[in-house]
Amino acid sequence: MSVNTTPMPPERLLELDDVHVHFSMREGLVRAVNGVSYHVDRGKVLGIVGESGSGKSVTARAIMRLLSKNAIEAGGRIRFRPEPGKEVEISSLPRDGRQVRELRGGHIGMIFQEPMTALSPVHSIGTQIMRTVMLHRRVGKEAARARAIELLEKVQLPKPTEMIERYPHQLSGGMRQRAMIALALSCDPALLIADEPTTALDVTTEAQILELLKSLQAEMGMAIVFITHNFGVVADIADRVAVMYLGRIAETGSVDDIFYKPKHPYTRALLQSIPRLGQAPVRRLKTIPGMVPDPFNAPAGCAFHPRCAYAVPGRCDTLVPEVSLFPGDQSARCHLAGKLPEEVL
């Protein structure tokens, strides 16, 4: 596939172009990310949804160049614009080089799923934040401390001056996730990558964290790549949505288009299989037959075809579909995109 070489449009912050990541395992080669392209504009929230094994977390780690040692970065281009007028091709930089390290934490912050284990157990919250601030801002200890207190206040942790002395095990899950957010935002990054940040939390805590992220986003203006398997969360926070299935983007578009005018059978089927609050009671949920295939032997052609209600034999099971474009910057990787019968959602 040819790689797009034209410069990014001015509003663009991040652009992934045909990114491939493979893992060599004892059982064989896993093509965890198999040609993923998406983009995030400055100050926008991109939600990435998918079931387990769809490659959504791996893609995020590819942006941060944080893949494990057995990962093979098998192609594609990741471009990022740390400040207007500047463009960095992250994918061509050395993995642990100075430039990548400056981006990490400095221009791109990241928060993780497990607030229990994502913070160092033997350093206080303050120390962990201060270390990052001192590293990227090149300020002294006092200034870093002041910044840490300011950040903890921003994420609405009570008594920030005391809180910086606390250790993670002294905080609840929700408070830890707030501390994690403070750490990720410590250097005013242009982009925040949030990898299932609310999955491990209770629903009331999840609501708190979502509201916090939204208000911080409005205040600080950073863009967010929000990874989740929960369609409700995506609908709540995202401007644009990308739906992933088995290492590929099945469909991407504005949040309204994805939820109300899905073009890909997978998106549609997923939306139908979720029980919704206040829905007129139906006895049976719609389901997608079968299971997510084993990544070691992904189906040929469109990876979704064995489970797809509309699959065309001889086409969907042999040819990998191209991306079809629709108005409103919506695109779907399906042979039948735009030709599906209307269905009520």
Binding site: T287, P289, G290, M291, D294, P306, R307
Partner: protein, 378 residues
Amino acid sequence: MAIETLEAPVTEAAPGREEQLYTAKPWTLIWWRFRQHRLAVASLVFLVLLCVAAIFADFVSPYTPSSIDRLNTFSPPRAVHLFHEGAFKGPFVYALKRTRDPETARVTYEADREEILPVRLFVRGEPYRFLGLVPTDLHLFGVDHRRQRINLLGTDSLGRDLFTRLLYGARVTLSAGLVGVAFSFVLGLALGAVSGYYGGWLDAGIQRLMEFIRSIPTIPLWMGLAAALPIAWDPLFVYVLITIILSLIGWTHLARVVRGRFFSLKTEDYVLAARLAGASEYRVITKHMLPAMTSYIIAAMTLAVPEMILGETALSFLGLGLRPPVVSWGVLLQEAQNLRTISLAPWLLAPGAAVVLVVLAFNFMGDGLRDAADPYGR
């Protein structure tokens, strides 16, 4: 009404190899994984061979451990050759010429290149009772000569064959290790299981006991207990007591492993599922908990054997453990205690090499087992 099935074929009838994997018994999986550790497999083979040789030591060794040869003291190891002056002769050793330095009165040995002694299988030699039962004089190998002997590892100060003594010593040392582990296993399993299964104050009490025992320095304690054994007692009885002393310390480690496994297994949902299906406590323990633990316990036991062997060797070496006429590796090493003997006859350190090899083999095997012990690890 019809029950919805997983409509799309989940996995097509899995090809042979996969189906084999899916239906493989737990021990088969453990064996498959163990097999991948080549060092562990080699260690296993080595230990099995050594055990067989030790069990049949009287047959495998060419002499008896206490047969003295005054004209053959401190003779060096003899190499087994195949070629004599370029001609293939089958396995043989050269005869040994004994000369005495007239000035220092020191005995030196030199290979007599003229006389070759073929190594023969199943030779008649010193009489013994096979496995302590059948009287016979058949030995696996030896040389047919009235005066000359085959000493693969040389001889000691009394001209006794070190190879023979090493094999007999293996009997005592290895069995001391295994019996010691067996003792500590019984203690550790019992107390660890009680501790882990019942928990509460019983667990707390046993934990405290283990802390007490761990706070006693091992070697001085061993030494003290071993020194308490009277010299006059029957050597066999002393041997049993020494193994018990060794196991007195070792059990705490095993108990900890057992307790930890019990604790984690007790909270597994499948154990609760069995209980809720109405399974008795006995069934839960024997069908679910013990099978899940055995591989871990075997690994832990394997790793505990070398401790016991090292303990026996050290105590006997110091003269506090087993004593002659019992032959153990520690007893044999006593002869190698002073520097002059070592520089005169470095081959007397051979039992030390044997200890190192056996300890390493048990460690490698234990590591391999431990890695293979959990084939279902997520």
